[in-house]
Structures are given as C-alpha cells and as structure tokens.
C-alpha cells in the first residue's frame, strides 16, 4: 500500500495551487461572488487551458478520463481556495454522466466543447419530495410523436444558470421511487417551456429551481438507454461524492490553518489565545477530524470507480459520513475560536464555514449516507 503521487500528479497539483494562489485570493473571490453571474468566465477559461476541464473527458475527445486521482487533487486545491465555479457540477459530474451514457455522436458534440470550457452541462436531478433519495424521480417524460414531453420541477440544481445544457432526469416508466424507469434528457438552455428560478446558495454558489412545463424535446435528446439510467446516475453521484470529499479536505485544511494562525496572533489576557489549553485541545480535536477525513477521502478515491458496486457505495458513504462530521466540528470550532471575528463576512473562515455546511448537505447528508452504509453492509 502506498499513498504517493506520481511526478505528473504532483506537478498538476502544484500548478493548480499556484494558479489559485495568484488568481483566487480572498478579495478576488469576493469580487467574483458579488458579480452578476456569480462566477468567473475568465477563471473557467484558464482552467480549460490547464486541461482541468478535460480530466473526466475520454482520450478520444481530447481528455484524460478516468483520471480519478487528478480530479480529486484538483478538487482539493479548489477547496482550499473556496472556488465557486461549476467544476464539480459540470467538469466532474456532468462530464462523467455524458461519458458513460451518451452515444458517440453526442459525446463528439458535447465533450470537446466541455473540455475547452465552451459548454457547461450539469445534472438536473434533485426534486422537492426526494430529499437525498437518488431514485425518487417524479418529473415525467412522455412520448409525443418522435420526441418527448418533459414536465416537473427540479430542485436546487447547482450552476443551472450557467449551464448551456441541463442533463435532466425524468421518469419514462415505473413508480416514483423505482430505480428502473429513469432516463436522462439533454435540454439546452433557453428551450421553450424551461423556466429557471435562480438564486445564490448559502455558500455563495449559484443555483436554480428548474421548472419544466411541457417541454418538448426531440428523440435525439435522450441520453443513454430509455429507463435504464440509474446505474450510471448512481455511479456518477458516487464519483461526485468522492470529489466533494476531496474538496472538503482542502476546505478543512485551510480552515484549521486559519484557526491556528489566528489563535497564535490574537492576544487576550496578555498572551496569544493559542496558549489556553482548552483551545489547544479543541484544535487537536480539529486536527484529528481533518486527518480522519483525509484518510476517508483516499478510501472514496480508491473505490469511486470500482466495479464492485456494493463496495463502492459502502466506501463512498463511509467517507461522506466521516467528512460530514468533520465539516460540522471543524467549521463550528473554527468560528468559535475566532470569537466575534468568526461570525463576520470579513473573515475567510466564515466563508469556509458556509462551504463546509453546504458540503455536508450536498449529495446526501450525513444521515443519508449512514443509512446507505448500513444497507450496503447487510
């Protein structure tokens, strides 16, 4: 067993970190958050230039897939800088979904454009009644002539406002919570009948509810087998969770570093507050959480694309549980140890705190993954 990176992987990781240190400092990030779109096309273009948007694109379309380690290294670096661009939604999950489901001609149409940063495609999957349940889909797709009519509402679709293509899951058959009968449709932005209710999320990303009001799409917009998308959907979400865990470790590490730095400089009662043993023990506990999270992000990475589906689900869920708990503890304690400063918008730590909250709630919360771990262990 070893945890070493190859030279190429290390070089990639250094390159991304250097790039973000230059381009994505706290103030620059704040400006991006305040902009109308809420993300930076310029940063996105540079990420494309560095090849980061092609990590999940197959070689035939000019990418590097599966490149799991590289993807997770990138996510870790993005986490450290609290990057808000649609990397996870489009460059990881959207891309992987297309790679596994789409026909050759669809791949040729979309993937090179995605690798080049010209097309953003995000899964539009969650629904109001589904909570974190992946197979609960009530949005419907009904045949009409040669095409389909889509109706329903997709909830909290991350980066939908930025997307040129929505990868909408819809039910073509079966009851609302069945794994069979789920299909994926590629719906271009601006298609008639598609309405976006856009908003920022608590951690400063952009999202929307997507309302599909009798949206007519051609037969060619079906991506993958009719009614048979669930296995790939589930694999894609597990890859997404692994990537999110890697991002979390980046956020957790900067959060711990910022807290150490702050408590070493902040003086009360004539000494740096890091001298107080109560706080030292707290930071020791934070470190333990971060290291446990890091270990589990490796486990998730190892099994993220494993053919053993049960083992994949078990490992990914175990990782998400560990990371969810770490996000909660480290985030809360970091704010606490900053005192009043911790609850202001001025400090990077409060932004990290909100990202950690969002990570905890995204792609299945801690309880969801605890339950899935139990199910898959039976």
């Amino acid at each position: 067993m070893h945890f070493d990176l190859t030279d190429e992987q290390r070089a990639l990781s250094d390159m991304v970190a250097r790039f973000l240190a230059q381009e994505y400092a706290f103030e620059a990030r704040k400006k991006i958050l305040r902009s109308t779109e809420g993300w930076s096309r310029d940063t996105w273009a540079k990420m494309a230039e560095m090849g980061l948007l092609g990590l999940q694109v197959p070689e035939e379309q000019g990418g590097m897939a599966p490149a799991v380690v590289e993807t997770l290294l990138t996510m870790g670096a993005l986490g450290k800088a609290l990057v808000v661009e649609p990397y996870l939604s489009s460059a990881v999950m959207g891309t992987a979904l297309i790679r596994h489901l789409a026909s050759d001609s669809q791949k040729r149409e979309w993937l090179p454009a995605m690798a080049a940063g010209e097309l953003i495609a995000v899964p539009a999957h969650g629904e109001a009644g589904a909570r974190h349940e992946l197979s609960r889909v009530s949005t419907s797709a009904v045949r009409k002539g040669a095409g389909w009519v889509l109706s329903g509402r997709k909830a909290v679709v991350l980066h939908a406002p930025a997307a040129g293509l929505l990868l909408v899951t819809a039910r073509t058959s079966g009851p609302d919570d069945a794994e069979e009968g789920i299909s994926v449709f590629a719906v271009p932005a601006g298609t008639s009948g598609v309405e976006l209710v856009a908003y920022p999320t608590i951690d400063g990303q952009r999202a929307a509810d997507v309302i599909l009001d009798g949206v007519e799409v051609p037969a060619a917009s079906l991506v993958g087998p009719e009614g048979g998308a669930f296995p790939v959907l589930s694999a894609t979400f597990d890859l997404g969770v692994a990537a999110l865990c890697a991002e979390a470790v980046g956020v957790l590490q900067t959060t711990l570093d910022a807290t150490l730095e702050y408590t070493r400089t902040r003086k009360q009662f004539g000494v740096p507050i890091a001298r107080f043993q109560a706080l030292q023990h707290r930071m020791a506990d934070m470190l333990i959480h971060v290291e446990q999270a890091r270990s589990m992000s490796y486990l998730a990475a190892m099994h993220a694309i494993s053919g053993d589906v049960r083992e994949r689900r078990r490992s990914v869920s175990a990782a998400k549980v560990t990371i969810g708990n770490a996000c909660r503890f480290v985030g809360q304690q970091a704010v606490q140890l900053h005192g009043g400063m911790g609850v202001t918008d001025e400090m990077a730590v409060s932004h990290a705190f909100k990202r950690l909250l969002a990570i905890e709630l995204s792609l299945g919360d801690t309880e969801h993954h605890l339950e899935r771990f139990i199910m898959e262990s039976k």
Binding site: A128, T201, A207, Q268, Q336, V343, D345, E346, D365
Partner: protein
C-alpha cells in the same frame, strides 16, 4: 420538593396568556414564529404595548415603574411571550443599564432615564467590547479624560448590537490609566447623537447587520452622565452581568423553536414518509427535547434559590452554556430537516412580505441563515469557554 407551579403562578400564567392572545399584533407574531427579520419598529411597538398595560418593566421593582414580579413570575412571563411569538424585549435598557441606574444611579439619573426605557423613547446599546478587549474586557482602552464638568471620550468600541438604532450607549471607559486594569474603569452614559460619535456597520456571515463599530472622537460627556463613583465602573459591570445572565438559558425561545422544528419534521418527507417518523431523526429531536426539559428544571432550581434571596451566582454560566448549545442544536436540526432546500439563500426571503417566486417550502427560507447566525450565541455575553473558566474557578474551585 415540588416541580409544579403553585395555583397562583398558574393563574398568573393564564392571565399573561390571555393578554398575549388579545394584544400581540398578528403580523408581529408571524415574523417571530417564522424566523423572519424583526424590524426595530416591532421592538419599539411591542415595548409600548406592554408599557400601556403596566408590564413594561417585567424585571423591575414597582418603585421604578416595574411589575415587581418575583423571578419565577418573570420566568413564566418570558416563557409565555416566547411561546406566543412576541418580539424580544431589548435587554440593553431593561436588563442592563436599567438595573445599574436603579442600584447605583443618583435621583436625577433615575428620573431622567428610567421612564424613557419603559416607554421605549430611548433605545440603548451596550458599549463594552473593543477590538483588543473581548474576553479580556478589563484591558479596555477607550479613555475618558476629565475636563471641568465633562469628560472627553476617545476610543473605539466594537460588536455593539443594534447601535444603528440607538439613542444612548452605556460604556465602560478608562478614567485612570495608572491604576490596575479593573480599578481605573468608569461607567458612562453617552448620547449617541453627540458630535464625534460614529457608527459603522459590521456585515455578518449571514449578510445581516446587527453589530457595529462605534467610534468616539473627542466626544464631550457631561460628568452628570457618570453612574456611581469614578473608577468603580467594574463593580457595576459585574453587578450587571448577574442580571444579563438571568434567563440567559432562553428556555421559552427554545421551546418555541422546538415546536417549529417538530412542525417542520411533520411536513417534510423522507423515503415517502413524514420525517418525524424517521427513527434516526426522531431520536435526535427527542435528545434535544430531553436536554431542554433537564435545563428547564435546572433553571427553575436556580430561580427558586434566587427567589429565596440567595443571589444568582456562577450557576448562570451553566445555564448559558447549555442554553446556547440547545439553541444551536435546534438550528442544526432545522437545516437538516429541510434537506437540499436549506441551501438557497435569498436575502429578501428573510423579510416579511417577500414577493419573489417561491423556492421550496416557505419555512425553509431562513433556516440556513439562522443556523449560521446562531453561532454567535456561544461567543457573545461571555463566550462558552469563558463560562467554563468561571465554572472551574467559582464552582469547582480548581
């Protein structure tokens, strides 16, 4: 031992409840119960409604226009108010500077300031903390130099809650730089409208503005605005802390929030069933409820000791720690309860009457912001670490 309220106390509770049913405006109540922003106008209007009823000073003695209620009645009153969804009474006048003026102020100060607190003509804020002096308050540096019949005040206070609305600020200032830290501090009442006072808002992590920096630049404060003796301010501040921490457990508010959480859990669905029937979630909800029951009894034990004229002591620290932990746990569970719909964050959606298109259930809109905001509860009013220091020193004598 008797863990129930006496018949008289029960009758009092009924009286309060009846009054609240008829006198609390529904719009105000709605904002509080739904966790929406409560405008300053509500705070003022509610204080005035109570004042007209003669209940403007629920924790004040009769001689100063208060109700003269004992601690148990005060507790019942606050609990009923919280349950009904009244705006929170401003603590800065009623629970902080008011009792200090009553105990240490002169006759002129009592006559001038106390009635205007009851009638909500003056909005007070608390000026203790400074950038360099948070937990270590006694290190404060804002100074007041005596020049004839007034002091000249220079310095900076920070984290001043709702100073943007304030007419007056009560401050701890240094009047003797040579004395030991606690010894050279005085307690001054400063008119916020005086020349040289500047208020700058601090944006919080949820985007809201509730705390401010307050700067003093050569601000002239008449000597008659000093409470008590010069350089004895620390004694008054410590007296005040005892009052600030009475009811610090926030039992009534937490009960109300528990009810809101229970309602949300019954409306949310998990695997096609109500979330409230989910064993994992139900267990977590029950645990908070049990913690709250325990804390209520602990709180009542402290109150009855107080009623027997044993002064409130360091056990207030226990109430503060456990009370804020429960408040925070409730906000966490509410966020968890609504799942992905906790994520959308639309500032306007926290205001009553928001007209934007709905996103998720209405009750979900403020929850993540409230969760973030409530991290403050374990920081202000003496952080929970400082409270533990008090427990270890004063109760455990370690």
């Amino acid at each position: 031992m008797d863990l129930t309220f006496s018949p008289e106390e029960q009758a009092f509770r009924d009286e309060v409840r009846a009054f609240l049913t008829t006198s609390l405006p529904p719009a105000m109540r709605h904002r509080v119960l739904e966790g929406l922003l409560v405008p300053a106008a509500d705070t003022i209007a509610w204080q005035r409604i109570l004042h007209r009823k003669g209940w403007g000073g629920p924790n004040w003695p009769v001689e100063f226009g208060g109700t003269g209620w004992d601690p148990v009645r005060q507790f019942i009153f606050e609990e009923e108010c919280a349950a009904a969804g009244t705006p929170r009474l401003l603590p800065f006048g009623l629970k902080m500077v008011g009792p200090v003026i009553q105990a240490f102020g002169n006759a002129a100060q009592k006559a001038r300031f106390l009635p205007r607190i009851l009638s909500a003509e003056d909005w007070w804020c608390q000026g203790y903390s400074e950038p360099g002096s948070g937990s270590d308050l006694a290190s404060l540096r804002t100074e007041a130099v005596r020049e004839g019949d007034h002091y000249v005040v220079n310095g900076q206070k920070t984290w001043i809650t709702l100073a943007q609305h304030a007419d007056w600020i009560f401050c701890l200032v240094r009047t003797d730089k040579a004395a030991k830290a606690q010894a050279g501090i005085s307690f001054l009442l400063v008119d916020m409208h005086s020349p040289g006072v500047t208020v700058r808002p601090i944006v919080m992590l949820d985007g809201g503005v509730e705390v401010n920096e307050v700067w003093f630049e050569d601000v002239k404060v008449p000597v008659e605005n000093r409470v008590g003796e010069e350089n004895k301010g620390w004694t008054y501040a410590k007296f005040l802390l005892g009052h600030e921490r009475a009811n610090i457990a926030g039992i009534g508010g937490s009960k109300r929030e528990l009810a809101r959480l229970t309602r949300i859990a019954s409306l949310e669905r998990k695997n096609g069933r109500p979330l409230s029937e989910d064993p994992l979630f139900a267990a977590r909800l029950a645990q908070v409820e049990i913690d709250l029951i325990a804390l209520e009894i602990t709180n009542l034990r402290v109150l009855s000791a107080e009623a027997e004229k044993r002064t409130p002591g360091p056990e207030a620290s226990l109430l503060k720690i456990k009370g804020t932990e429960i408040q925070q746990a409730l906000t966490e569970l509410m966020v968890q309860a609504v799942g992905p719909y906790a994520l959308p964050f639309r500032i306007g959606a926290l205001e009553d009457g928001f007209q934007g298109p709905p996103v998720g259930p209405d009750y979900a809109a403020p929850l993540a912001a409230t969760y973030c905001n409530m991290r403050k509860a374990s920081i202000y009013g003496g952080s929970n670490e400082i409270q533990k220091n008090i427990i270890t020193q004063m109760i455990l004598a370690l």
